[in-house]
């Protein structure tokens, strides 16, 4: 994993509540056996007409939606399925953070494993971000856990401490768990009652 670094970006507003994973990447694109190539179908049904032409008024099809790394979404972003294809599609498109007032649990966990930072802000900060001029730059500093706004205010956000360390140091979570093999073996050997009847 590549260590996560501070970056500055414009903000792409998508102020819709409860954006579910079926909107982020519709299920018909999950027949792939690879992680790649999902970005072209990110928000597919909002982004394209039935004949495949881009819808001109959808934010990702406008200049504002191009080349930015922060998506500003409505409450409960990522609800629905456990598909990790959602953060894969978002990161492949270029996003490194999604800012919202809340996130669905499974999406949040999946995002953090793919260097996509789910940033939870208050409704007041959310409204302030929505009101920013189109070209305003925001700086995301994961180490400091801050989102610096153009007016100089630094908004703090929470992030799981373990995930933060993994992201900043480029530590691979599976690698870390594999090192716990002795504890896993001890647990398997020492269970008082295992309900498992499969093995």
């Amino acid at each position: 994993m590549i260590p996560f670094t501070t970056f500055q970006s414009r903000v792409v507003p998508m102020p819709v509540n409860n954006i579910d994973t079926d909107q982020i990447i519709p299920a018909r694109f999950l027949k792939t056996t690879s992680k790649e190539g999902l970005d072209k179908n990110l928000f597919c049904d909002w982004r394209y007409e039935t004949d495949g032409t881009p819808k001109p008024d959808f934010i990702l099809n406008t200049p504002r939606g191009q080349g930015a790394q922060i998506l500003l979404a409505g409450d409960n972003f990522g609800c629905g399925s456990s598909r990790e294809h959602a953060p894969w599609a978002l990161t492949q498109f270029g996003f490194r953070a999604v800012v919202s007032t809340s996130f669905a649990d499974i999406f949040k966990g999946n995002a953090l494993k793919n260097s996509l930072i789910p940033v939870v802000v208050s409704p007041e900060v959310h409204a302030k971000l929505l009101g920013l001029p189109e070209d305003a730059q925001v700086t995301l500093d994961l180490a400091a856990q801050t989102l610096a706004l153009p007016d100089g205010t630094a908004v703090e956000f929470a992030v799981d401490s373990f995930s933060k360390t993994c992201l900043l140091e480029g530590i691979d979570e599976l690698g870390w768990i594999l090192k716990q093999a002795p504890a896993i073996e001890a647990f398997e050997a020492g269970r008082k009652f295992s309900v498992n009847t499969l093995g």
Partner: protein, 469 residues
């Protein structure tokens, strides 16, 4: 200080702690890992690139359900991308030694139907699957939740996951369900009450006399949709209904092991006086059949109710959400859903495709004809459900009524396999999600129970099953 009194989910959590460290997530052990073709290929690729094995193939079960056609199984899969994905799971399972109940297995089925019915799912277990409806298995008093593909890889490699405990949330459902009101209506009512994100960060426990009265299949329907309120898991304490269901199933404990298991399972229910972070109550006595009107499962009303009027909603984004949903669904504010014409009725999915669901629908359809304008699909959840349905003569009832009775799979719940709505079409569906395009691009979904679905199939419009009971 944690209380010595613990909830069911806390007991299961505690029994699976491999390593705990202040400030860090806990390492928890997984008893049962269910795998399907959609969320596993990249995880197996990850193992291969790291040179890792599946640590406990004996605790791992695979089936093929999402991408496969529900038409004649003797024919090849026409969609080359789906065929490749299905073949890839076969290949991965062979290479890594994972038992696979594949397309031609006599036990193939939707992962959350075949797992419990074969007795894999048991009380007190931790169960995971790369699928958010893994919450289904909580009906047995297992801590069961959906995971992403990175976590599928972690569990394949180590049989463990890094997790932080969730908040506890009790859903108390007391009273007696009236005729025509089912487990599906309980969970749709709960989702409508708290909203699609209302239980985020929580593990639910369903309790109360109405829950105790449900069959295991009804309990699975309830737990299945925990995620639709944002909860990763939803549990029900194991009791005699649970033990009765499990006894004699192929992978349930046998003989002395059974007695030992039951003794342990009886220790699992929430301690008297244990405190939940949050509680809501639902009155089963006054519950009516429920139906969704919008584009998430929290947007539901009773079948006789009206869709909301967005003009009365203060918050701008919430108002936009309702306006957007009504526009997508082509519905008018303040009007009922009852009586709206539909194009398709879908009876199936991991929520409602078990034998009791098919029996309930068949009882309504028996000796009657569905409206010829409506395509009615009935998709059993597994090969075992299919066999049982044949033994009971259900396929004949469905066919004589004019239904399309199909082979087991996820089918039009997720519309990955060609079973899908056309743009603009309406369905009444017994599945779990009514998101935009969920059942096919541009399709519009009303979620409801198998009884409501069957009554709608006959009427050709959204119907109240109580009028024909």
């Amino acid at each position: 200080m944690s209380s010595p009194l613990r909830t069911l989910s806390q007991k299961v959590w505690d029994a699976h702690l491999v390593r705990e460290e202040a400030g860090a997530p806990s390492l928890i052990y997984i008893d049962l890992h269910l795998v399907h073709e959609v969320t596993s290929p990249q995880a197996f690729s990850g193992l291969r690139s790291r040179g890792l094995k599946v640590r406990r193939p004996d605790l791992t079960i695979a089936t093929t359900d999402h991408s496969i056609p529900t038409s004649d199984r003797s024919l090849p899969i026409l969609d080359p991308i789906a065929a490749n994905q299905v073949a890839q799971l076969d290949k991965n399972c062979k290479e890594f030694g994972v038992p696979h109940y594949g397309v031609h297995s006599e036990h193939q089925g939707i992962v959350h139907v075949m797992g419990p019915e074969l007795g894999f799912t048991q009380p007190g277990m931790t169960v995971v699957c790369g699928d958010s409806h893994t919450a289904t298995h909580g009906a047995f008093g297992a801590l069961a939740f959906g995971i992403g593909t990175s976590e599928v890889e972690n569990v394949l490699a180590t049989q463990c996951l890094l997790q932080r405990p969730s908040k506890t949330f009790k859903v108390q459902v007391d009273g007696t369900l009236k005729p025509g009101v089912t487990a599906k209506d309980i969970i749709l009512a709960f989702c409508a009450k708290v909203g699609v994100g209302g239980a985020t960060g929580c593990v639910l426990e369903y309790a109360g006399s109405a829950i105790r009265s449900l069959s295991m299949e009804g309990r699975m329907t309830v737990c299945n949709m925990s995620i639709e309120a944002g909860a990763r898991a939803g549990l029900i304490a194991p009791d005699e209904t649970t033990f009765e269901y499990l006894k004699g199933r192929p992978f349930a404990p046998k003989g002395a092991e059974w007695d030992k298991a039951v003794a342990y399972w009886k220790t699992l229910p929430t301690d008297e006086g244990a405190v939940f972070d949050r509680t809501v109550t639902i009155d089963a006595d006054t519950l009516e059949p429920m139906i969704t009107w919008g584009t998430n499962p929290g947007m539901g009303v009773s079948i006789t109710g009206a869709v909301p009027d967005p003009s009365g909603i203060a918050d701008a984004l919430d108002r936009d959400n309702v306006e957007k949903a009504l526009a997508y669904m082509g519905l008018e504010a303040g009007k009922p859903v009852l009586g709206r014409p539909v194009d398709v009725v879908f009876i199936g999915s991991c929520t409602n495709s078990r034998i009791s669901d098919l029996r309930a629908a068949a009882a309504v359809l028996k000796g009657r004809k569905v409206d010829p304008k409506v395509r009615v699909m009935v998709v059993p959840g597994s090969m075992d459900v299919k066999r049982q349905a044949i033994a009971e003569g259900l396929p004949e009832i469905f066919r004589e009524a004019g239904c399309d009775y199909r082979e087991p799979g996820c089918s039009m719940c997720i519309a990955m396999n060609g079973d899908q709505l056309q743009p603009g079409q309406y369905s009444v569906s017994t599945s779990n999600r009514n998101f935009e395009g969920r059942q096919g691009k541009g399709g519009r979904t009303f979620l409801a129970s198998p009884l409501t679905a069957a009554a709608t199939a006959l009427a050709g419009v959204v119907a109240d099953v109580r009028s024909i009971l």
